[in-house]
Structure formats: C-alpha cells, structure tokens
C-alpha cells in the first residue's frame, strides 16, 4: 500500500504574542510574527507516522496572504515530501466558506497530478479564529466523509481507515471509507522536532506558490463578517514568578501569598 496524504497547515499570528487592537476595534497585524498554527504539527506528525507504516507521499498545503514562506520549512524539515503555498491578497477577508472552497479546489488539482488523494489531514482548530470547521467543510465541498477531533489513527485496510475520535463523554472508534478528511487533536501524537541536518536541507527546498485565480474561484461572496474585536480583561492577579534559584522563587511566592492574605493550608 502507498498513501497519498495532504496535510493542511495554516499560518497564524504567533499565539504567544496575539495582535493588539486599533482604536476602531480591528486587529493591528502590522507587527505580528507569523508562525505555523501550533496544533497543525500534530496532523503533520500523524501523516509522517502513516507514511512510515504504509509508505506514500505527503504534501503540505497552506493558504494565506503573506510572503514569509520560510515558516513552512519547519514542516518540510519534519519530513513532508513537498509543500505548496496558495497566496491570495484578499485572504484576510475570507471566511471559512471561502477558505475551505479554495483549499478543496487545490486538493482537486493536486489529486489530478497524483492520480488519487487518500487522506486529507488538518489540525482541529486555528489558533487565531478558533473555528474548528475546516475539516468538515472541505469534506462537504469534496463530497467525502470527514472526522474531526481524531485522537489516533488506528489502522488502514482495504480502502478503509479506523480512527479513535474524541467526543464529549469519551471516545468513539469509527471506520470510514477513504478518501476522508481528518482533523487531528493534540492528544494522541507528539510532533517530532526536526534534526539540524533536516532543517538545513529544508532551506534549499522549493515551495511553489499558487494563486487562487488559477484554481478558479467562482464563489466570492463573503458571508461571515467580523464586526469588531475586544480585548478580554483578565481579572487575575497575574503574579508570575521566575528564577534560576527555585528556592528564592518559592520564597517570593509564599511571601506574596502572605501579603495577599491567601493561605493554602486550612
């Protein structure tokens, strides 16, 4: 068996330093650092493990509007065979319907080249929009099944895949026909850290850039509008202690508790 796998990887403002707001309540994206959506690395890891077990080819795919394609080299260094970036200057205005439509068009195009795509893997949620809808929406556009919140892929046999999915009150094991879109949770896999050698090799790799206009975007209506953003005020004290000397740190922690009148013992 040999699998053709597409992994969807999103670029997002670094979740560690989320954007601030302009006076009109829109995002100030000028100085944000763009990184790979952290949770998507779990999907990449799942793809790599499938390739190790069954053989095949992994193609990374991303849609965005910026020029720093170098962030995707980390994904190439992890072991995906190639990476394609679709660039659209209108991307910031896209809602999930647009994004899923463009990505499914690109998947169709890749499928033409490869002959067949068996699996499309993605993360469970973008760290910026927190939507968690892409897997199902791509499944619907491509008219294939989809399973979200996959903890672990258990087995592939006779054109079917068996996965363990997380649900609110436990787990559910499902069998699905392929091709299928899966969103991979951050629970069942541990993304690998690329070696220095692979990181250096990845620098030399070509990342082709596609345009949405080449994919034929007939569907341009943006239906979900963002009216404004708001900073969430934290009501927490936020006293964070950090010290090389752990004893000193704990001293300060207990002093602070005392000062605030908080007693842990009762």
């Amino acid at each position: 068996m040999s699998l053709n796998i597409i992994v969807l990887v999103k670029s997002v403002p670094d979740p560690k330093t989320p954007p601030t707001l302009k006076v009109d309540g829109s995002l100030d994206l000028k100085n944000v650092k763009i990184v790979v959506n952290p949770i998507d690395k779990y999907a990449v890891e799942a793809a790599l493990q499938l390739k190790e077990r069954y053989g095949g080819k992994i193609i990374g795919l991303s849609l965005g509007d910026h020029d720093n394609i170098d962030i995707f080299r980390e994904i190439i260094a992890m072991g995906v065979d190639s990476f394609i970036y679709i660039k659209d200057p209108d991307y910031q205005r896209f809602d999930t319907l647009q994004k899923s439509y463009v990505l499914s068009k690109a998947i169709k195009k890749i499928e033409k080249d490869l002959g067949r795509v068996d699996l499309v893997l993605c993360g469970v949620e973008s760290s910026d929009t927190n939507m968690g809808v892409l897997a199902s929406q791509i499944g619907e556009w491509l008219e294939i099944p989809s399973i979200s919140y996959v903890d672990k892929i258990l087995e592939i046999k006779n054109g079917s895949i068996i996965v363990k999915k997380i649900i609110e009150d436990g787990f559910i094991t499902l069998r699905s026909r392929m091709p299928v879109v899966l969103s991979i949770a951050d629970t069942g896999y541990e993304p690998r850290i690329p070696s220095l050698r692979d990181t250096i090799m990845a620098r030399r790799r070509e990342i082709p850039i596609w345009k949405t206009s080449d994919l034929g975007l007939e569907f341009r209506e943006i239906v979900l509008k963002t009216v404004r953003f708001k900073q969430i005020e934290s009501k927490r004290l936020g006293k964070i202690f950090r010290d090389e000397d752990v004893d000193k740190m704990i001293d300060r922690f207990f002093e602070e508790l005392k000062r605030d009148g908080v007693s842990l013992l009762r």
């Binding site: 989320p18 927190n130 199902s136 989809s146 436990g170 069998r175 963002t226 009216v227 013992l265």
Partner: protein
C-alpha cells in the same frame, strides 16, 4: 411563521433530547421577539417522533421533524443533509445548535450545503443593526454572535447580514431552561428525506468508550490538578499536596487517558466544572477545553515549565519551572508551616 424565525436544533442523546440544547429555546425566543418571528425546533434521527411529546410544552411554535430508520448516530453526512433540507425549505433567520464535537461537524457541513455562514463556540448572541464598513449599507436587526478568538485572549463579534440562515453553535450551559407553557399546541411538521446507502457506507461506528463519573469535585475547596506534564510520578506529588491541603486531585483529559488518575477526576468540557477556593494546575497548558471547567475558581495557581503556557494568562500566581523540582519544595515548605 416568517423568514425572521429563529430555529433550534434539538440534540438527541441516548434517546432523549439533551437539556443543553433545550436551553437554547430560551435564547431563540428572546431573539425571535426582537426580530418579530417565531421559534422553531428541529429534531432529526431514528425513532425520534416519540420525542415530540417531551418538548411539546416548551416555548416553541413549530417542530420540524425527520424520523428515518436509516439515520444512525454519528452519521454526520446524512444528518447535515436532513437539517439542510428543512432549512432550505423554511429559510429561518438563524439556526442555533449546541457546540459539541458532533454539532460543530454538522453545522460546518450545513453551511457549505446552504452557502451560508457558520460561527462556532459562541458565548452569546444579540441583535443590532449591521452597517457595512465599505458600502455603508445598513442591515436592520441582524443577529450578532460573540465568540472567543486567539485562544481566548480576544473576543470577536461576528454577523451574517445577508445570508440566511446564520448557523451558530453555542457553548453549553449559558442559558436557563426554557419556560413551559401548559396546554399550548405546537405545530408539528414531518419531513421525509432519502438516506442514501452510499452515504451510510462512508462511516460506521465500531465502538464507544464512555468516561464514567463517580466523584463529585464541585464541592472541593482545594483542587490540585495534574496534566500531561505531570506524568505518573508527578501525580504522586499531586496526591501528596492535595492531602496536605485537604483537597481533591483533579486532572486534564490526557492525564486521564494515560491512566495516571481515574476518569472521574477529569475537569473541563468532558469532565466536571469546578469552582474551588484554590485551584493548583500542575503541568497543564491551559487548553480551552480544560479551562472551561475551572476558570471561575477563586484563586488559580499554575506550575509550568513553559513561561508562555496559556494557563498563566488566567492565573493569579504562576511558578515557571520544572514541577518535579518545584512541587517537592512546596510540599516541604507547607509541612514546615503546618508543624
């Protein structure tokens, strides 16, 4: 009923309408009143016709029902087709669904089928005029949803001023149970769909593993909770600290799945919701599915080696470092204080 109706999708869980989804009726009525429309409910599944009598007395104007013997639980494709069928014929203003893993999948697919907007995990909805920032065009009385973005650091208000229906999945537990109006007569509309064998073939359920709950953590004054960072050895320290503070042990889902503690100690979306005086999070990153169950604790203390872990953002006190170094020292310190 007119096109400014607000619909609610009533989840069927183990043969019963879920209480969480019923509470959406309360919100739907509030929105519908302002819009000048009615409240509709949608029930889809196998052998669900008999459930109509369970909801008959709630504040609903019409129930749309699809009862089909081939509709199996977790058949996302057929369910989204069924709901879309009702929505495309009735065209309400919005459909509210409870944000479950399955609910979000169905909502996402409906949005594609109907080429309409979906917003997940909404924390509230309200009605306001929408003014297009470019054209200046105003859409009167438009449903707006508030939802967290950037992992809860910001909130966003979103709206779908033109496309109908707007599909919103709403976090559970936000609204009170709906009013009962005795002796009222609800219109019941039955719809039929074709469930294709082809779709049925696509996914099938092999096994369901339920997480059991026995211990009630909701009354604990102190909870020391461990996550994936704690490992089995860490849980020994957590147990020790919890007993020292006369508290209970809590855990994240990965810690439970790894078997480091029992499933009934899980806190979060799957687990319990707790509000102790003191919550100590050890080796926990602070994923929304966890924090939803503990974020209202009076005092939150976090121990994590990653200074950028989201848990610190909702903590009163944070200790950055290795829990295997920090915990024993804290335990020792508290022992001294005690004696």
């Amino acid at each position: 009923m007119n096109s400014r109706d607000v619909y609610v999708y009533l989840d069927v869980v183990e043969g019963k309408i879920s209480i969480n989804s019923l509470s959406l009726i309360t919100k739907a009525r509030e929105l519908a009143k302002i819009l000048g429309g009615g409240v509709g409910a949608i029930i889809v599944g196998r052998d669900v016709k008999k459930l109509v009598k369970d909801v008959e007395e709630y504040d609903i104007d019409v129930i749309h029902i699809i009862d089909h013997p081939k509709l199996k639980d977790h058949d996302v494709i057929s369910y989204s087709k069924a709901v879309s069928e009702i929505l495309s014929k009735t065209r309400p203003e919005a459909l509210l669904m409870i944000s479950t893993a399955l609910g979000k999948e169905i909502a996402s697919r409906i949005a594609v089928r109907l080429r309409t907007a979906v917003a997940t995990d909404c924390i509230d909805l309200y009605i306001d005029d929408y003014k297009d920032p470019v054209s200046g065009e105003v859409s009167e009385k438009t449903i707006h949803c508030i939802r967290y973005v950037f992992r809860g650091e910001l909130s966003a208000v979103v709206a779908s001023p033109r496309q109908r229906p707007f599909i919103a999945t709403v976090r559970p537990g936000l609204y009170p149970a709906p009013q009962k109006i005795f002796g009222r007569k609800i219109e019941v509309k039955e719809w039929s769909i074709e469930v294709s064998e082809d779709d049925l073939m696509k996914t099938e359920v092999l096994e369901i593993q339920k997480i059991e709950r026995k211990i009630d953590l909701s009354k604990a004054k102190v909870i020391v909770a461990g996550g994936r960072g704690a490992k089995a050895e860490g849980f020994k320290l957590i147990q020790e600290l919890a007993s020292l503070l006369k508290g209970e042990v809590g855990a994240t889902r990965p810690a439970v799945d790894a078997g480091w503690t029992t499933p009934d100690r899980m806190i979060g979306l799957t687990g319990q919701t707790v509000k102790p005086d003191i919550y100590i999070a050890v080796g926990i990153s602070g994923a929304p599915q966890h924090t939803i169950g503990m974020r209202d604790s009076k005092i939150i203390i976090a121990i994590n080696k990653d200074p950028e872990a989201p848990i610190f953002k909702i903590s009163d006190y944070g200790l950055v470092g290795d829990l295997f170094v920090i915990l024993p020292k804290i335990i020792e310190r508290l022992r001294q204080l005690k004696s």
